[in-house]
């Protein structure tokens, strides 16, 4: 019997999968004072798609994500998530570059922050524990955030984002502050939960190889507009250093460097 099989035979858990939300942006423009950050962006994201947005710093990629998260409103144009022009906040969840855990709450309570409509305490506790198990942190419910490593904190943040079963997951450079190995583990984790649950995912990153490793589709933003829209049609799980992946990465990097 081989070890891999043994490892997989853990207690079967009920997996809750969702139908990913579609995202549609029409002529979205955003100004901060005199500065135009986004210039008339038209974009349609299919349900369940994994989209990566890359670009130089200051190209407007984080602003785009915050608009889709409903944290900010566009100056012009419209955004619809799942064909709804407003009130989609509950189905979308945002993960930040820093974990942004509440240091004064234990891990379980931090995860429960994601549960806005939980019926009762018992339910909250169970759902938080389930979400923690999904990110590989079972049994750490009572730890304080201050004792966790950077990678573990991001796992808790991921559990907090997933606990309400969002249909749209937005990730704002979620792995930017992690070391290379932890980063690869987190990429695999994010890919795995995305495949299991079926939500739509949008990740903003400055790391092109990360985008190629994760996304179905890569958008390159430059000066507030979509400069490049590349489909990444590679089988999953993707191997690092794959020749086709390297080719796509090279193409995008070349575009990014041209300026």
């Amino acid at each position: 019997m081989n070890m891999e099989v043994l490892d997989r035979v853990v207690t079967p858990e009920p997996r809750i999968s969702v139908i990913g939300a579609s995202v549609k942006l029409q002529g979205v423009t955003k100004d901060f004072g005199d500065h135009r950050v986004l210039r008339g962006i038209d974009l349609t994201i299919e349900p369940g798609q994994f989209v990566a947005v890359v670009g130089r710093s200051g190209c407007g990629k984080s602003t785009l994500l915050r608009l889709v998260a409903g944290l900010d409103t566009p100056t012009q144009g419209s955004i619809a998530v799942d064909h709804q022009a407003s009130g989609w906040r509950d189905m979308a969840r945002l993960m930040f570059q820093e974990s942004r855990l509440l240091p004064w709450q234990r891990v379980a309570a931090n995860v429960a922050v994601g549960l806005t409509h939980a019926p009762n305490r018992q339910e909250r506790r169970e759902q938080a524990a389930n979400a923690l198990r999904e990110v590989g942190l079972a049994g750490r419910e009572h730890a304080w955030p201050s004792v966790l490593s950077g990678g573990q904190k991001q796992r808790v943040a991921l559990a907090r984002a997933l606990v309400s079963h969002p249909r749209l997951l937005l990730l704002d450079e979620p792995l930017g502050a992690l070391d290379a190995l932890t980063r690869i583990e987190m990429q695999e984790l994010i890919e795995r939960v995305w495949q299991e649950k079926g939500f739509t995912a949008v990740v903003v990153t400055h790391d092109v190889s990360e985008a190629v490793a994760l996304a179905d589709r890569i958008l390159m933003l430059d000066d507030g507009a979509v400069r490049l829209d590349v489909a990444v049609d590679l089988p999953r799980p993707r191997r690092r250093g794959d020749r086709e992946a390297a080719a796509i990465e090279g193409r995008i990097l070349q575009q990014l460097l041209q300026r």
Partner: protein, 251 residues
């Protein structure tokens, strides 16, 4: 061994003091021997005088602290959260803050006489500012990233206040609390020494009239003990409320 070490110096001083008094090096009308102070303690404790005075002083301290601290906390929160409220009141408060509150004693005696109100007013005024300043600072220094996270995760305004703002401001509020407790005793000592007909300060001044130096020294020690008690309570509260913070958890 480590537990005994901090006590060595105080014990040595106390012994030297006792020996000095017994040998007559330290005169009794300058500084009575520790044994004499202990005797005085026994005397006033048995007559009940000590306890009534402690009760009166503690009551003044706590009522003044509750009033001043309550107003300071509320205004600090308000001015930390709302810039309108801050623009309206902060510069006025900062101006008033620069008046040493003990300078108001003559005025306060004119207003309230030497009744309870005078002492409570002074204590409240003294306690108000450290609590106000530190609460406001605490609210201001709450991580804006956490506030944004709370909003993105659909927290209501109440939830945002209770789960993010208040706990975030708490370490700073505790600094204000401990500082305020110090000012509370200081103010009370001055106020009771100058004008009072009861309380520890009165007990000391009264004993001075009758040249009972032992009771004077005892009163000073009682003040020290009460101050230490208040500070220890605040520290205990701090350690319980801020257990999440590694800085406080180990102290």
């Amino acid at each position: 061994m480590k537990r005994i070490l901090p006590w060595l110096v105080p014990i040595a001083i106390l012994s030297a003091w006792q020996v000095g008094s017994t040998l007559g090096v330290i005169q009794a009308n300058v500084l009575p021997a520790p044994s004499a102070v202990a005797e005085a303690f026994w005397r006033v404790a048995r007559s009940g005088e000590l306890w009534t005075n402690i009760e009166v002083s503690a009551w003044r301290a706590l009522v003044g602290f509750a009033i001043g601290g309550g107003i300071g906390f509320t205004l600090g929160m308000l001015n930390g959260l709302s810039s309108l409220s801050e623009t309206l009141t902060d510069s006025t408060l900062q101006m008033v803050r620069n008046i040493p509150h003990l300078a108001l004693i003559p005025l306060v005696i004119l207003w309230f006489g030497i009744d309870e109100e005078a002492k409570i007013f002074l204590v409240a005024l003294g306690v108000f500012f450290p609590i106000y300043v530190n609460t406001q600072h605490g609210v201001r220094s709450v991580d804006p990233h956490l506030l944004e996270m709370g909003r993105a995760y659909g927290m209501s305004r109440t939830a945002l206040f209770l789960r993010v703002v208040l706990p975030g401001a708490l370490p700073s509020i505790f600094v204000g609390l401990r500082y305020g407790l110090g000012i509370m005793w200081l103010t009370l000592i001055v106020a009771e020494t100058i004008s009072a007909s009861s309380g520890i300060g009165f007990m000391a001044m009264n004993a001075r009239e009758f040249m009972m130096v032992d009771v004077v020294v005892l009163s000073i020690l009682v003040y020290a003990a009460l101050g230490k008690l208040a500070d220890s309570t605040a520290r205990l509260l701090e350690r319980t409320c801020l257990a999440w913070n590694p800085v406080y958890a180990k102290v």
